[in-house]
């Protein structure tokens, strides 16, 4: 049975074994809503600034993030302890989400949990058509910050 499944998949996906399915590095999008067309996992690099003039971010030693993309959904978590300088205008954002969010006001926005110095920040949200998480109540000095969430891509 496994051999049969493997033979079937080989025609569509390239390298397939009974223990893993390998997708191409660059997604080949499918218009069929019942088709899984991508999987990717990795790390990403978060930084903090303001949405108008981002400024310069000095990272903390434990900064970093991880993500898993399954089809058109990205799950992520991260940490950004550093401080920002020269930022102005707009609102505070965590920038650098691993893929752009879908540019759609209905599904491109979503909640994101940010904990800064043991306090959950209110009104933090993923923004449509960006790779930003808006965090209006974030402070601009070095702090311990964790975040996680998920979002849709186009």
């Amino acid at each position: 049975m496994l051999k049969t499944v493997q033979s079937l998949f080989n025609g569509f996906l390239g390298a397939v074994s009974v223990t893993s399915i390998e997708f191409p590095a660059t997604q080949v999008p499918s218009s069929n809503p019942n088709t899984l067309d991508d999987y990717e996992e990795g790390t990403w690099t978060p930084s903090i600034g303001r949405s108008s003039t981002f400024g310069t971010y000095t990272p903390g030693v434990l900064d970093g993030g991880a993500y898993t993309k399954i089809g058109n959904v990205v799950y992520f978590s991260g940490r950004a302890d550093g401080s920002s300088s020269g930022a102005s205008g707009g609102v505070w954002v965590v920038r650098g989400l691993p893929f752009p969010t879908v540019n759609n006001a209905s599904i491109g926005r979503g909640p994101c949990l940010i904990i800064e110095n043991d306090v959950t920040l209110s009104n933090s949200r993923i923004m449509q058509g960006t790779n930003d998480i808006q965090a209006p109540t974030l402070v601009d000095t070095a702090a311990t910050r964790y975040f996680s969430g998920f979002y849709y891509i186009s």
Binding site: T43, T45, G129, N131
Partner: protein, 79 residues
């Protein structure tokens, strides 16, 4: 036994609204055999300061981020 680390930019992706993602791959090799591989994504939006990035990333951003693209991006996010 030789242990090597290799970090290289494997792709630079540009979305429709000008967001640039730089994909970097880090490999660890023992005696030329890859033992582990991880991938990192770093994202930049139109108008970001990319002066600390590799030359090819700067060049692509400079071409992609016209004043119209930057203005359209900022207008879309409302700043």
């Amino acid at each position: 036994m030789t242990i090597e680390q290799k970090i290289e930019v494997v792709s630079i992706e540009i979305s429709k609204n000008g967001i640039v993602h730089v994909v970097t791959e880090e490999s660890f090799m023992v005696n030329k055999v890859v033992k582990s591989k991880t991938q990192n994504r770093q994202g930049f939006v139109p108008g970001d300061d990319v002066s600390a990035q590799p030359q090819n990333v700067q060049a692509i951003c400079n071409v992609a981020w016209t004043s119209e693209v930057i203005a359209a991006y900022k207008n879309n996010i409302g700043v």
